[in-house]
Each structure stands twice: as C-alpha cells, then as structure tokens.
Symmetry: C2
Subunit: 432 residues, 2 copies
C-alpha cells in the first residue's frame, strides 16, 4: 500500500518532508569503469569501441559495420506493422508542428545612443542522440530527441543505439528515419558516449549529446560534460495527479499505474480534497493491477513510492505541488486552469479528465523528455532551444565609444584591470 | 613570443589542431575534499559553514552574523567613489534594458483537432549567486548575474561572497544592492555552495546556483548539479580578433592584452590576411606590455597561449573561427557584418574598430558571462532564460481524445507499455 497523508494531521509537515526526501534511486558507482572506458576510446578509437561492444553487447563488429546502412533501415521499416508506422508518422508530424513554434527570433536594435545591439541564434552543428537498446528502446523517445534538433536546424544528428546480440528494434530505426537522423551507429554504453564526444576514425565528434541511458551512460555523460554539452541526467519518471470529486477514480488509477509501470523507482502521487475519491482510487489501483502485464513493476513502484494525500482544501495544493515539482502534473478538477495558474514548478501540465499523460507521451505534440527528481524547480523539458545557442552582438561607432568609454574606463580601473581601461582609452585622444 | 601560424604552410592543419588541443588549465583535484565539505555542511549546517570560514577565510563568525546587514551595505555604498558608483549605475541600467528584451513569451494555441497546447515560462523561485572574493571580486559580474535573475522575476536572489579576514569590496556590495540581490552572506568556497544547495538554519536553500569561482567552487558546483541547477563551469577567458589591414594594430594589441591580463591561462588570438598587420600587432603588444601593471600575467598568457594566424584570404576565417568557438570575437574588417554572418560559433561578437571587448564587459548592456573553452559550440552566454523554466501545457476534450487516443494506444502497445494504453482506452467505451 502506498503512504497515505492527511494535511489536517499534526505530523503532516514531517510526513510530507519525508516523502520529498525519499531516495528512489540506487546510484551504482560505475564512475571508475566509465573513466577507463572513455580514456580507452580516446586512445584507441574504433578499436576500443569494437572491443567493448563485443564484451558488453556480445556483438562482433568490423570498423566498416558500425554504421547502420540505408538498406537495413529500409528493411526495418518494411518489417514494422503499418498501423504502428502510421501512428509514428502522426506523432512525428504533431511533434514537428509544436516544436516549430519554439524557434527563437533573432534581435537587432539600435539604442538611444546609437549603439547597435542584439543577438543571433544558431543551431548546434552536430548533436548525438543516445537511444537505449533492449526493453527500454522507445521509438517515441527517438522522435522527441531528434525532431527538435532537426527543427533547430542541426545539420548533423547522429544516433547511437546498442544492438545486443545484433538485434535492433525496427520501430526505433523507422522513427530515426522519420525524424531525420543523419547517421546511426549500432553501439551503446559509455563507449558510445566517448565516441560521440571525442570522435573516432568512423564517427566524427559531436558538440552535444542528449538522450537517456543506464548508469554507465549517465556517468559517461557527466564525465564528458564541458567538453560537449549534455541534456539533463534523467531520473525515474513521476506523475502528480491533483483531483477533486468531479474526477473519475478509475481514470486516475490508470494514470497512476501508467507512470508506475515504467520502473520500480517511478513515483505516482494523488492529491485530493476528497477522502472518498482517495479511497476509490486506491481500490481501483488494486483492481487494475490484477490485469496489468507489468504488474510486478507497477505494483512495486506504487507500494514503495506511491502516495495519496488528502487536503482540507485544494487551496493547499499549489504549495505542495511546487515542492514536489513533478515531471508530469495532471489537474482533474472543476477549475483546472485556475489551479494550474497558481503552480510554479512542473515539467508538463495536463488539464482535465480527458488528457491522460500518455497522450503527451506519444501524440500530443509537446515533448515527453521532462525534468525529473524535483528538477522542474530549475529546468525545462527538452525543446528546440536545447539544440541552439545564442551569440550576442555589439557595435559602437566613434560617438558611441565616446559616450560609453569613460564609464567603462572607470569600471576597468576600479576592478584593477588597466589593460581593459587602456583598450578603450587608446581609441580616443580625448580620453587618453 | 606567441605561436605564429600561416595557412599557406604545409603544416598548418597540424599546427592549428595543436593550438586547439593545447590544455590551458591545470585541473586541481580537489574533489575528495569538496565531497567532505559538502557532507559536513549537510550534516552540521551553519556550524560547519562557520568552521570552514574560520579555517579558509580566517574569519570567525557567529550564526547571527553570516548575513551582511543593510547598515553594512549602506556604509559600503557611502565608501564608494561617486564616479565608480555612477558608472555602475549606468552599467546596471543598460544591462537591465538589454535583458528585458530576452523575456520569453508564453504560448497558447488550439490546433486543427481542437487540442489546446502551449507553454508557460516561470521564474526560478530562489537562485544563488557566487561572487569570488579577494582580487577577483568584480562588481561588474555581480550585475551580470543578478540583473538577469531579477529581470526573469526570481523572487529571491541570494548572494554569497567570501570575506577573507573580514574584508568585503564596497563596490561589490553596492552592485548587489543596485542589482536587487535580496540576501548577502559573507561566506565562500565549497561550504557556501553546499549551504546554498542544501540550506542551513540561517540560509534557506536555492534551486539554482550561478557565478564563477576557484577550483573548490567549480568542483562543488559539479557535485551539487542535479540537486540544484548550475550555470556553466567557467574556464579562462579568450578573445579572437579577426582583422584586415584596415585595422589599427595598436588598438588590436590593446584588446589582446585586455584579455591576457585576466589570467596566465587566458588566450588571445589574432587572425588576419595581412602579414604586415600581424607584425605590427606583435610589435605593439610587446611595446604596450612595458607599461602594463599586470604585465606578468598578460605577458605569460600571450607568450604561452597567444597566437597570430595569417591567411591567404579572410574567406578561410569562418571555418577556423568556428573551430576556435571563442568566448569573445572581435571582427575589425571592411565588411565586419558580412564576415560575422558566416560564423556559427562565438559567445559574443564585437563589430568594427570602435567596439573593444571591454565595452561589452561593462556598459554595452549584453552579458559578459559567456561560454569559454570552445563551449560556444553548444552553449550561450548567461541570460534571462537561465533563470526561468518552461512548463508545457496540454488539454484535450472528449473529441480530441477520440481522435488522438487510437494512435496513442497503438504506440503504447508497440512499446510494451500496457498501462499507458489502458490509461487512454479506459476513458472511452468505444476504444475499450
């Protein structure tokens, strides 16, 4: 049974703090091995990548076969169920349309002094996309990472996906093709991250790496951070549902379980002002678990990390939601918009009873790569801006320099940076 | 003497690659001490912070005196030179005006199916700003970090600044006041980063930490990353000047030295199609070094990491500039705008002979916290977006769910996530 909290109880503050502090992930300490793997790939390139692929993925590759060929991609597409392919195409189209709206505008303006100022956004030249293999190979995640990169205008999107025993998920390859990935390599783990970051004879280096992975991949991303850019280190998935008694308990239970089936470390929380709804949802979760294929995973997540919180009033909800800073927040109340407007921290908000989070996972159009582990307090879901960077631009003429030079000289001198001051004063006899 | 490269020489590609690969920073391995300091601050809070402040800053504090008082700030302001204060005020005003233009717009739209989509930007609730003490205490950096946070709308901006032996730079306090910092604590080092990230009895935790620091601060920021957000880990400063023979060699030399005076690990590079200009600049640098207060630092930087590169044609410059991905790029050529348009990677671009980089450091208005160490390939200077985060919003009604439900179910099933599929199908008898 999940923990049940009641905001009217004396121990509520302590119980809620304990819920926030609960550690959901066992952090495997793989940093030493990862450091060795990276150093080896830097030193021996393809050869090292091939060695680790043989050892970890039980797959023997020759340098010429690292890259997945066009013929393989075409064959994979032909193998996919037409209905799945069509759903993937709809998803890709909607994701593209949504992300097109995120393209930032350049700015150029002249201020009152005549100084020309502004900035210019440019796409990152080459990005790497890590795609997990095996059971966690999600074609939808390929779309969610690669499409924003292509919408941003990245000329080179490189995908790596491990192929344990030589197997690749056909829908993953189809998604890569749909999203416009330019190169695909059948490698994974820390060795793939190292190859992307530092390059090998076969794989030219990229400037940024995104996408989820296991403990080795996460540790490798942390290590190469700085040399290349990375996205967030993804943690287990989470949903917070805020509901009143207008909500359907069976639907809420299904949403809580959809999150819980991802991982035993996932977290599903219900906040409601209706104890009756809380009871009904708990009963429904138990009933639906009976017939769920991944009941072991979902059941463990719900038992260990699930929570049901009852409030005297939904007015208490925004403050709690902000502290939870959930990756996914569903609001199923009479005035969902009004409540949403009072919440600061959430990765994505799903409004009303007819917006299950799974719609956002696949076909809503918004991105499903979202901040986990309370990081919605300070970060955003993946988007077009993650694949671009901004260069600021400044231009003065002699008059502008005459106006701005003296205060710049004053500040340079105040900071003890005489060469800074001189680089201004040398340009004007007046201020020399 | 700096290295001199000529693109017409056979060894140019190798020499340029060596220049790119040159390691400028000795990375001190302080990670083990930093881990201990953080754990201690988490365990003992203020008491640990006070102990480390006594040990490292030779300053004995009582818990009630960690915070800099309003009276101290007022006294510091009174102590500042009026001219410096006025320059700081002009800088603050211009930085504020520039960053106001970076405030992102929310979006809300309804697509052809009737799905409501969009996003909302919100400010990070609490941010910490690290300000180095001692000789590297730059009031301009206080403005560059705190003003974007305040423009973003962060309700709580917390500044920490070490005060070795009890001394604080009055202009730093004046800048904090001007920028609108809400709390200032006289602490520094890894202990200050830990206090900001995890909180103590005196200091409530923040959600993101920005600002430069020494090796301990950088290691501590890396360690708390994930629990809180951080900005980039700043490396030594850099300038790349691209010039033709229309440029004034004395001005260029002054700009190269302004960058070099920051740190012996700073890097100043000139690229030109004029060997005569290259020679003249080298002579000017040598001459100007003679009278520079920080000649030891600037001279070592120029000698060890400076470079002068001559090209057959400036058409070769964009590709080289993109590989250098300089923090600061000055273009002093007849068609500076045209050349700038062909360059993808730079933190900030300064156009024409009357825009020395130092103007951008202080009073231009754009941010001087910019990506170093080639990271302009994948990241941007500090700005308002660094202090905000985006929440995506999705809303379907019954008809939209009926349209999008079936492909979502198909993809959920294709990914083996039955509970995802069920969370959609349960909402509709038709698709149950």
């Amino acid at each position: 049974m999940p923990v049940r909290l009641d905001s009217s109880k004396a121990d509520f503050a302590a119980a809620f703090a304990a819920l926030l502090a609960a550690k959901r992930e066992i952090s495997e300490d793989v940093d030493a091995s990862v450091r060795g793997i990276i150093a080896d790939v830097v030193a021996r390139g393809d050869e090292a990548v091939i060695d680790y692929t043989s050892r970890f993925d039980h797959l023997d590759l020759a340098p010429g076969t690292l890259r997945v060929t066009q013929a393989e991609i075409d064959a994979a597409r032909a193998e996919c169920e037409p209905r799945a392919l069509k759903a993937l195409e709809l998803a890709a189209e909607r994701i593209r349309a949504f992300h097109e709206r995120q393209k930032p505008a350049d700015l150029s303006f002249t201020d009152a002094l005549g100084v020309e100022l502004g900035w210019r956004w440019t796409a990152i030249e080459a990005v790497g996309l890590y795609v997990p293999g095996g059971t966690a190979a999600y074609p939808s995640s390929v779309l969610m990472n690669a499409i924003p990169a292509k919408v941003a205008g990245c000329p080179r999107v490189v995908m790596v996906v491990p192929s344990p025993g030589g197997l690749l998920n056909p829908l993953v390859l189809a998604a890569a093709k749909l999203a416009g990935a330019d190169e695909i390599y059948r490698i994974g783990g820390a060795q793939a991250i190292a190859a992307l970051a530092y390059g090998t004879r076969t794989i030219a280096p990229v400037a940024k790496i995104t996408g989820p992975g296991n403990a080795y991949v996460a540790a490798a991303k942390r290590r190469v951070f700085g040399h290349v850019g990375i996205d967030m280190i993804a943690g287990p998935s989470e949903v917070l549902v805020i509901a009143d008694d207008s909500a359907n308990p069976a639907w809420i239970a299904a949403d809580l379980l959809a999150q819980a089936e991802h991982d035993t470390a996932s977290q599903s929380i219900l906040i409601t002002d209706s104890p009756a709804l809380a009871d009904a949802v708990e009963r429904e979760v138990a009933a639906q678990l009976e017939t769920l294929p991944r009941a072991n995973i979902a059941g463990a997540s719900w038992r260990d990390f699930g929570a049901v919180i009852t409030l005297g009033s939904l007015d208490e909800a925004p403050a709690l939601a902000d502290r939870l800073a959930a990756e996914h927040l569903e609001i199923i109340t009479v005035d969902a918009e009004g409540l949403a407007a009072r919440i600061r921290n959430a990765g994505a908000i799903f409004l009303g009873g007819h917006t299950p989070e799974a719609i956002g996972d696949y076909v809503g159009g918004s991105n499903h790569v979202l901040p986990t582990a309370r990081s919605a307090k300070f970060s955003s879901g993946l988007g077009v801006l993650d694949f671009m960077k901004r260069t600021s631009i400044l231009k003065c003429g002699p008059e502008q320099l005459a106006a701005l030079g003296p205060p710049a000289i004053t500040l340079g001198e105040a900071e003890g940076l005489a060469a800074h001051a001189r680089s201004v004063s040398i340009r004007s006899n007046r201020v020399l």
